[in-house]
Symmetry: C2
Subunit: 185 residues, 2 copies
DNA sequence: CGTTGCTGTTCGTCAAGCCGAACAAGGAGA
DNA sequence: TCTCCTTGTTCGGCTTGACGAACAGCAACG
């Protein structure tokens, strides 16, 4: 966790999330029930908001509280080979997905098991912003990752890649399987 | 994410985390650089702390910011068989553990891969309060779970059990392996 | 050109968070 | 018991965040 102070992060996050929704500063202030002067100062980096104020803004923006205080998680594609036990993006075509454990409140992590057979790769729609996918091959081989940069994964390989951008899964062997962790910020 | 207001959660979280470290209110206030009167009021539920104040406390407690505002998740023992794709506690004896992905800030989830050979079961020390372990067998068979209620797991079985109490792992076949997710609240 | 409506800004006032000191309560030791 | 140090509490003050209004800038419309 970073210790650089959350104020600058909050300022940037507020403006980013507000513009993501296409809301004006005035409109967001109205929805959140805070004075627009307060919001203006917060977005300009000045101020030290109370928890209640920031909470109201998070609700109005429909984002988790921590989204505003934690620095935007850089989610570059990260690849680790089985030999090194490193992260690698993986992607399968005809596959079945099974939700094993739903994300408990506060943990923000969903566990899936997917199995696939060789065939055309299957594209997955992008998830909400800030999503990261972890994939660990437990059987066979896969090709997975962002549509513009998929990575081939062998048994035991692990991959991590952004889940908020288009990505694909493709099984390269019969009976391929993998553990998939959907992670939200 | 919950929308019930973070103040009560903050009050409970502050006291819980402080007592977890065995710190007195006075000592925590000193380390965080906040007046102990302020901390006293926060723990009693009164007050509406500023982000800077709460941030200083989170740093002093060495917990991510969101740990203080998100409600704690309940973690009863939950078991699911492979046929049902349900959770089941698993436990192995002679084993090797490899950290694949360290817990990113706010996500509070560590990914491990463990491999084991048959032999005497190995007890794992209890982790910090609120820890939950997820285990998914990717090879062989395991017996794992709380020391007083271990569960046998076959290939593909999944188990979830509290990690803040003593538990064990025991591989039942040569070349057994599993994915282990350490989850913190 | 003036008006209306929006953008986001800055200002003064009031309320409230934060602080430090003073406080009561509980052990530990002489 | 009396003292000393700790625990966490409550109290006056200073500081600061939140509010609402007034403000300047820009675009569309009559």
């Amino acid at each position: 966790m970073d210790r650089t102070g959350p104020l600058a992060t909050i300022a940037a996050s507020l403006r980013r999330e507000r513009e993501r929704l296409g809301l004006s500063l005035t409109e967001l202030a109205r929805r959140a029930g805070v004075a627009k002067s307060t919001l203006s100062q917060l977005e300009s980096g000045a101020g030290n908001p109370s928890v209640e104020t920031l909470w109201a803004l998070a609700v109005a923006l429909d984002v988790p509280f921590s989204r505003l205080v934690d620095p935007p998680a850089a989610a570059p594609v990260h690849v680790i080979r089985a030999e090194d036990r490193v992260v690698i993006p993986s992607d399968t075509a005809p596959f079945t997905g099974t939700l094993i454990a739903a994300c408990p409140p506060g943990a923000r992590r969903d566990l899936h098991v997917i199995t696939g057979e060789p065939g055309p790769s299957r594209a997955a729609h992008a998830h909400i912003n800030g999503t990261t996918e972890h994939m660990l091959v437990t059987s066979g081989r896969w090709r997975a990752g962002p549509v513009d940069a998929p990575v081939e994964l062998a048994l035991g390989d692990y991959a991590r890649f952004p889940g908020d951008r288009p990505h694909t899964y493709e099984a390269l062997e019969a009976g391929s399987a993998a553990v998939l962790v959907m992670e939200y910020i």
